[in-house]
Amino acid sequence: MFSILATEAFEGSFTTEANVILENVWLIPLLPAISFFVILFFGKRMPKGGAEVGIAAIGLAFVLAILANVAWIDHRDNFDGPTQSALTGLIEDDHAEDDHGEDENALGTTLTVTDTTAGADGVDEVVDVDLAFTEAGEGEEAHAAIAVLKGTDWLTNGGIAFSVGTLLDGPSVMMLFVVTMISLLVHIYSTDYVAGDRRYTHYFAFLSLFSASMLIFVLSRSTLQALVAWELVGVCSFALIGHWWEEKPNSDAALKAFLTNRVGDVGLLIGIIILFFASGGHFDYITINEMALAGEINQTALTWAAISLTAAVMSKSGQFVLHTWLPDAMAGPTPVSALIHAATLVTAGVFLIGRLYPVFFIGYNIEGSSINGLSLIGAITVVGAGLVAFVQDDIKKVLAYSTVSQLGYMVMALGVGAWTAAMFHLFTHAFFKAGLFLGSGSVAHAVHSFNMKTDMGGLRKFMPTTHKTFIICSVALAGVFPTAGFWSKDEILVGTGGFGVGSGSANGSYDLMLVMGLVGAALTGAYMTRAIYLTFYGEFRGHGEPHESGKRITVPLIILSVFAAGAGLINLPPGFITGSLEPWQERFFHFVEPAAAYFPAISHSVPSYWLAVVASAVGLAGPAVAYWYYFIKVDGLAKQTGEKLTELPNGLVANNKFAAAGHALLKNKYYLDHLYNDVIVASVKGPIARGAIWFNKVVLDGFVDNAGKGSVRTGKFIYDSIDQGLIEGTVNGSGKLSSQSGQGLRRMQTGKVQQYAALLFAAATVLAGIFIVFI
């Protein structure tokens, strides 16, 4: 009953004519972009400081995004118009067989030109979601998901025009929804959260630009365009992380975020360049992808491109060793953190892999290996970041490391060939991570601190709504059945195909990834349990009287927790439900995964009850241990002694040398920051830069100065010796003058006759040389 679904190879890739909404999705990023300028220039004069413009723009964009989703759902199954493929030009759609003959053009390229009669149908048809659902039911022949490609000339170089425009397909339409929704909620939340800030207006301006850049990124049709958006996202994060730049640590964090991203961008630049040349001069995603799949680009090039792009992903999506900026980025306002971690900045990397999946798929040979760079980085990140999250005292940093760990899941999933699982996790993670961040912001709003150990504890009594939503989102994050996190994480674990689970997975058996994924799941539950205990349970350790936040904060929390709980339902695995509900299975997969010529035919693992049970058990074991430690031991001891405890005074760390060493390692975040700041940055800024300047001063300037001095000296010699010396000297007798000229001059002109002779000879030689060479 479980079917192994390997995506078929399709011929068509894209169309340029579709539903009017799909054709004009460029409006969606345009709205917040306009809002940015409006707020920047006129925001201060508006009654609400520009927030209203921002909310209106992103709200409208949200509505459009929903419309686009609906339109896409219809388009996905019902589009019947002419389709094209980058490699073969215009091709007929599916079943039509009435070829009108072959046209041979001047250059000998043979193209098949087809009249399409059914073209207009797909556009005019009433959008009907239900119909779309039923049509794609089991047994139906697979229908290509034709992307909608629009564009206009951007620049000409080398005689070739390059386009800017939109590429709309499953993943981008999904991201449109996620980005606009989270962004809208963050906007609303922020009106309360940053109320009264001195740069309220600028804050909203950059929020708008941030959303706009991310939307441009997900809609980009070419790598070049994506690069622009990618960096714009980076610079917005710079502005927002450094929002409170009066404090040096904040601007330091912003700088670090930007610079680390810039390091990765080198990889992106090089990756794009390799792909550009390997594909014979293309930036277009679809063309590159199709050529990669068709074997038009050789494996070596793809591997190098994939490696370079991985570097970009590592920095942007906070993968291990380049992740250090992410926790520091918590210096920004909390809603920004939510936006960064849930929908925008960090997901860009994952999305980039998803976009150029054929490059990675073939470049890393994902189909045929059991370990590769991408999955390994992801797996290490899952566990490495999960461990560090354990020792953080700052609630936002716990969440930040949690994000790093979850991004690790996504990258790992992409690395093992579970594309849909990765995207699905991206989708669900957006909701519960945004919920958690906004929840932590709500807490911090109340206690004016982020430190769980010193300023929180027992907040469940004061902030019931925040508490509940936080718990729901945490449960979803930990992947407890049946929340959204469970479904997406389980799909990733199945997708690894480790130890033969998901029998018949053809993407190779990634045993290690499965183990790491399970460990990560246990860690996730455990550190979230710790965070919940420290924040909401025990005794309140802060100052003042905390109180629940206002509606503008709690309502977004509630909405997000609803999604966190329920979003998993849109991609139930096959065979899980039957009967009239069966069409609801794998909806996400169906509408998001591109089924077209520009996407590889990846094998899909079959869900395994067995693995689900094991994963749940492991995933619950972690929180169980943490629960036992915090809720029973620590809480009990605290009640017993009447002190406000956050850890057991004589715990493992205090007693065991190895545990202490491990703790120190984690506390120092694997000493990576020391490496970067003290070793690399310090040496470049210090000795190396100073060395360069020394070289400049001493060698280059010295040479020039000495040449100058030399000429002056020669001039002096000519004047002193020949003019003054010979004439005056002969007349007056050299004795007087030479004694008058003094010791100083004597020392300066040690050269005497022979030195002048040397100069003369050298000069004559050089002149002769010039003569010889030129004449």
Partner: protein, 232 residues
């Protein structure tokens, strides 16, 4: 005379003369190098002698035996003696001259190298592998004469179809002209119109004025040297 003849055949003796050149030039350059570097003044003068002698050899190698001879006579014979006088009169330490300051040395070396590089580049660039052609026969003058056939060298007899016992034969200009240059040289009464003669012709006709000027110059130098060096 015979030397000139041999040198005229240098094309055939290329290998031999190249070897000679190599030896001469090595000796010359080594001595020159020692001359400019040695500390001992007298040694330097002696090295100079070797250099001058070697260059005389080069002149001879090039077929200018007159210049070579002049070189030996004037230079080695006269100028060196002058130098030795100079050394002795100035009471320069006969042993170590001086230790040349190292920056001065490097400066000199730099200039010298630069100079050489530029010259070498120019020379190689301009002349490449141009050969010195010694093949052109020197003009041979012939005075018709009567000789005993048995005195004639065999090649001449064979070329002129004269038997050895032909007795007295008269050689005419017409006969002479039919001969190959190599053979002509061996005809009695033929005179190779050599280098020295040409030089003498040139100096005393074409270059008579410069020659006189040089004479005056020498005289002036003589007087000038006396005036300068004379004690007040």
């Amino acid at each position: 005379m015979t030397e000139a003849f041999l040198l005229a055949q240098a094309v055939e003796f290329d290998v031999a003369s190249n070897i000679a050149f190599a030896i001469i030039s090595i000796v010359m350059l080594y001595s020159a190098f020692k001359m400019v570097t040695t500390g001992n003044v007298v040694h330097a003068a002696l090295y100079l002698v070797i250099v001058l002698a070697a260059s005389a050899a080069v002149f001879i190698l090039l077929g200018s035996d007159f210049v070579g001879a002049t070189q030996i006579l004037v230079y080695i014979g006269a100028i060196i003696v002058l130098f030795l006088f100079g050394i002795m009169l100035t009471k320069a330490q006969l042993g170590d001259d001086d230790s040349v300051a190292s920056e001065k040395r490097s400066m000199g070396a730099l200039v010298g190298t630069l100079l050489f590089v530029v010259m070498a580049f120019a020379l190689v660039d301009t002349f490449g592998n141009d050969e010195i052609n010694f093949g052109d026969p020197e003009p041979i003058a012939f005075t018709p004469s009567t000789v005993d056939a048995s005195d004639l060298p065999t090649p001449v007899r064979e070329a002129l179809f004269i038997s050895a016992d032909a007795g007295e034969v008269e050689l005419t200009q017409a006969q002479f002209d039919t001969l190959e240059p190599e053979v002509q040289r061996r005809v009695p009464g033929a005179e190779v119109f050599g280098n020295n003669k040409q030089i003498a012709d040139a100096i005393f006709s074409q270059y008579i004025i410069p020659f006189e000027a040089v004479s005056v110059l020498l005289l002036a130098a003589l007087i000038g040297a006396i005036v300068v060096a004379r004690k007040e």
